[in-house]
């Protein structure tokens, strides 16, 4: 057993741990921080991403003993004490950037980290910046939009132009094919680009 001290989401903890204990298991099983999850064995999926000493890491690929003395922030510590959501959390909600939500804690933490270094990323930079996080539900499109919206809101500005595709899609409204139940409606009143 090795003595480990760390601060997680503002609370300090001192524990004896087995050296082989992964940080994510320490968080989940000893400290009860079950908001951070494990999705793979090979550090590909990024679902376990937390901030360690201010930088994003995959907590499945860090030993708890390596985090000795460090400050850790998980998705559970992002919102304000009054429950006010972090701009990235808010944007994920408003842009429908999650479906099953399993990748979401890691995705949000990775996005927070990306924005700390690049406060105004392009769509391409968001896509590259989140390459370490896998999502199987969303196709990433709304995640990219959410991260850019969050960036704009953190900068206190309105979002700059997004990739044309996302724009068209965001603006899209259903066009109504002429059908028996809606005779006379115009055949197409969809996207104006």
């Amino acid at each position: 057993m090795t003595r480990v001290s760390m601060t997680v989401d503002g609370v300090s903890y001192d524990d004896d741990v087995e050296p082989r204990t992964l940080l994510v298991h320490h968080l989940r099983e000893r400290l009860g921080k079950v908001g951070t999850v494990v999705g793979c064995d090979t550090s590909n999926c990024g679902a376990c991403t937390v901030m360690l000493a201010g930088k994003s890491v995959k907590s499945c690929s860090v030993l708890a003993v390596q985090a000795d003395g460090a400050d850790v922030t998980t998705v559970e510590g992002l919102a304000g004490r009054d429950g006010e959501l972090h701009p990235v959390q808010q944007a994920f909600h408003e842009s429908h950037a999650l479906q099953c939500g399993y990748c979401t804690p890691g995705m949000i933490m990775a996005a927070v980290d990306l924005l700390s270094e690049n406060p105004d990323p392009s769509d391409g930079e968001v896509r590259e910046g989140l390459e370490g996080n896998l999502c199987r539900c969303t196709g990433y499109q709304n995640i990219v939009r959410a991260v850019r919206d969050a960036a704009a809101s953190m900068r206190g500005t309105v979002p700059t132009a997004q990739e044309p595709a996302a724009e068209a899609s965001a603006a899209s409204t259903a066009s109504t094919a002429s059908t028996a139940s809606s005779p006379g409606e115009p055949a197409s009143q969809g996207v104006t680009t």
């Binding site: 090795t2 087995e18 050296p19 082989r20 992964l22 298991h25 064995d41 090979t42 550090s43 590909n44 990024g46 991403t49 360690l52 930088k55 994003s56 890491v57 995959k58 499945c60 690929s61 860090v62 030993l63 003993v65 390596q66 990775a110 980290d113 990306l114 590259e128 910046g129 390459e131 370490g132 996080n133 896998l134």
Partner: protein
């Protein structure tokens, strides 16, 4: 998965670390950033009895200017490399290749020295170190020694490092007036390179004065494409001559066939990517 149990020690200096490795015996493992080791421990592909964590060995961290070379501490993280002005000024090839290593999270913890000592043939940095003619500073029980890149990599996941040796730093000659480029080809952003090409070209009066080319994943160790280098030296730096030289990229290489790519395809990619790398590094 959860690693098998091991003993853990966290020395604070190089000598102490070498001592810990010696005490740990054959089955001791160095933990640098852990980004290759810990997944292997989780899958129980490695089960060391002792893990020696270099996290507190601060003397192994950072980049310093040493006249005609940079000395990069083995424990310098990829992220630190990417933000280091000396690296960008004197070894932009390292910065460019490092940017393609894994992802942001892994680059925050993974280290320059760890990548080199792990010696994965699909890793990007060994071929870069090879192309740059880097020198590896090694500490062992009998003191320190320097190993040139051409001798450091021995086989698949194997270097000259003995179980109680430690890679302390890497000395990278400054390439002033050279053009460099790292061309990486992978199937998805997260995948390892199927083939990578690190190229450095010095031009003089419209012709190639010197060239160095090293290939990633074209054999169990990084492969220097001497045939290309020979063909280039002294020729005009035109598109055609670069392309002609690149045809020799795979000469003598013996890449593996695996589910990601056949040897034949890797040989083909090597010539295409070498041409592209040369054009980017020193094209007309």
């Amino acid at each position: 998965m959860i690693p098998a149990a091991f003993d853990y020690t966290r020395p604070s200096g190089v000598d102490e670390a070498v001592g810990a490795l010696r005490d740990g015996g054959e089955d001791a493992k160095v933990l640098a950033g852990g980004q290759s080791l810990i997944p292997m421990l989780r899958m129980r592909l490695a089960s060391p009895t002792t893990v020696v964590d270099l996290g507190d060995v601060t003397e192994m961290r950072g980049v310093r200017d040493d006249g005609d070379a940079l000395v990069i501490g083995a424990m310098t993280t990829h992220d630190e490399i990417l933000h280091d002005p000396l690296v960008h000024e004197h070894a932009p090839l390292i910065a460019q290749a490092t940017e393609t290593v894994a992802d942001r999270q892994v680059r925050h913890l993974g280290t320059f020295g760890g990548s080199l000592a792990h010696a994965d043939p699909a890793g990007d940095l060994p071929s870069v170190a090879s192309a740059l003619d880097a020198t590896f500073e090694v500490a062992g029980p009998s003191g320190r020694r320097s190993v040139p890149a051409s001798e450091f990599f021995v086989d698949y996941l194997t270097t000259v490092l003995e179980p109680d040796d430690l890679l302390v730093s890497v000395r990278v000659p400054k390439l002033t007036g050279w053009g460099t480029h790292y061309e990486k080809f992978n199937r998805v952003a997260q995948a390892w390179a199927l083939v990578g090409v690190a190229a450095a070209v010095r031009r003089s009066n419209g012709s190639v004065a010197e060239a160095r080319v090293a290939l990633t994943n074209m054999g169990p160790t990084p492969v220097r494409a001497y045939g290309v280098e020979d063909a280039l030296t002294g020729t005009a730096a035109t598109e055609d001559s670069l392309a002609a030289a690149a045809q020799r990229a795979a000469d003598g290489a013996e890449p593996s066939s695996d589910p990601s790519a056949s040897a034949e395809y890797r040989m083909h990619l090597a010539t295409v990517l070498t041409r592209r790398a040369l054009q980017a590094a020193g094209g007309a």
